[in-house]
């Protein structure tokens, strides 16, 4: 999964809040044993915990966002959806098509059959032209 700066920020804040509320809860239980207090946990600790959990979940959601890709020409291409990938074939293939390839590129390029001699000849002809 990709981690970016906003994800990291959410995680740090959420974990700090969670640790803080945990320590508060720990202190509370210790004190209530010493002072023979029998009430429930103070509402601010409960709230802090719940908020921490929500922040962490939001952090997790931002971490699954789609990453851009570079096309063969070097342009940066963003997916049309921000987080998930389209499951319908005709939507899903648009990303790789915009790169300039397809999932069946193998059938088109056929590296195993590459005519290396011809490719080399083409290259040296091009080199001869351009200089």
């Amino acid at each position: 999964m990709a981690t970016n700066s906003s994800t990291a920020a959410f995680y740090v804040v959420g974990l700090l809040l969670l640790i803080h509320s945990g320590y508060s809860s720990f202190e509370f239980h210790k004190l209530s044993i010493v002072s023979h207090y029998h009430g429930s946990l103070p509402i601010d600790i409960v709230l802090e915990t719940v908020i921490a959990i929500i922040i962490i979940v939001i952090g997790a959601i931002t971490s699954v966002s789609n990453t851009p890709v570079l096309s063969l020409k070097g342009e940066q291409i963003n997916s049309r959806s921000k987080f998930l990938k389209f499951i319908e074939m005709k939507d899903a293939v648009t990303v790789i098509e915009s790169i300039g390839l397809s999932d069946y590129e193998e059938l088109n390029t056929r590296v195993g059959f590459i005519n290396i001699i011809k490719k080399r000849r083409e290259y040296s002809e091009w080199l001869g032209q351009s200089t």
């Binding site: 005709k90 098509e97 790169i99 397809s102 059938l107 056929r110 195993g112 290396i116």
Partner: protein, 308 residues
């Protein structure tokens, strides 16, 4: 997402898809420089599998750009790592390519022939029967490809190669058969649907050129080819509606002047249906083409569709 990761993903995609095999010389040079720079500064961001995949790409690019010294050094690096593995066909393929490129064809043949069970190498061996000076003289090559396919009928890449070879010499019906073999195993391969459509269309052009009479049954026969071409192109678009080349083919079919001859025959039900949908497809494909293909590239793409 940092630029390095983006670049890494792109290079790995080029390596795995084999896109470099169809690069123009400019692209080869550009990628050669880019890859060299990338390997120099960001080797740390790669795990070992990615690294060796990129070395393989570097080898191919160096070999294509006639930089034999560099190709040799990359090959040696790969051999140090994998050369002890006697079963690796991938590394032997690279070795044979290097030998072939440097003119030592006999040695390359020897390397490929060693074990008839190594199918990837036997496949490479078939390409040695190719005539490099005249692409249309490929009878031997086709014979060898068919021989290989008898042994390995599920090799889709070879079917694609065979189809293209048939297409080169104008045996479009056989080319269509080869491509349909791929579709049997991979029914969503939309570029192959396009190729089937294209070959039907070429077949149609070929037959139309030889057409002497205007007899009704001949015309109906021809229209079947055109309808097949259109249907396959439409199937391609159904799977991937941004496939511009297929839209272009549909446009060309729907505006073809042969359709006027057919309009006399609209007593036949199939032809009547065909002509009615044609009108709708023409409008639709015009819109799509203007969306998908920039104006300055259109003439170029159109030229590719002419019969060679």
């Amino acid at each position: 997402m940092s630029d390095i990761t983006l670049l890494k993903n792109k290079l790995l995609l080029v390596a795995s898809s084999g896109a470099f095999a169809n690069f123009s010389p400019e692209q080869v040079k550009e990628y050669n420089d880019e890859l060299e720079h990338f390997l120099l500064v960001s080797t740390d961001s790669l795990d070992s599998i990615e690294l060796f995949n990129l070395y393989e790409l570097e080898f191919y690019l160096a070999l294509i750009s006639k930089n034999d010294i560099k190709a040799k050094s990359v090959l040696d690096r790969l051999l140090d790592q994998f050369g002890s593995n006697k079963k690796s066909q991938r590394i032997k393929l690279l070795q044979s390519l290097f030998l072939e490129a440097t003119g030592e064809r006999d040695q390359a043949t020897k390397l490929l022939e060693k074990n008839p069970d190594e199918m990837l190498l036997s496949r490479r061996l078939t390409t040695f029967s190719r005539n490099n000076d005249d692409e249309k003289d490929n009878e031997d090559y086709i014979y060898n490809l068919i021989f290989y396919l008898d042994l390995q009928p599920s090799d889709l890449v070879t079917w694609a190669e065979l189809g293209d070879e048939y297409s080169k010499i104008g045996h479009y019906d056989k080319a269509i058969f080869s491509f349909k073999e791929i579709l049997l195993q991979d029914p969503y391969a939309y570029p192959v649907f396009y190729k089937v459509a294209l070959n039907y269309y070429y077949n149609f052009l070929q037959e139309e050129k030889n057409l002497k009479t205007e007899r009704k049954d001949k015309l109906v026969e021809l229209s079947e080819l055109l309808i097949n071409a259109r249907d396959n192109a439409l199937r391609c678009i159904e799977i991937c509606d941004v496939y511009a080349k297929s839209w272009l083919l549909i446009y060309i079919i729907s505006t073809h002047k042969f359709n006027e001859k057919l309009s006399k025959l609209d007593s036949v039900k199939e032809i009547k249906d065909y002509l009615v949908t044609n009108e709708r497809l023409r409008k639709l494909s015009e819109i799509k083409i203007s969306e998908l293909i920039p104006e300055d590239e259109r003439a170029n793409v159109l030229a590719q569709l002419q019969l060679k």
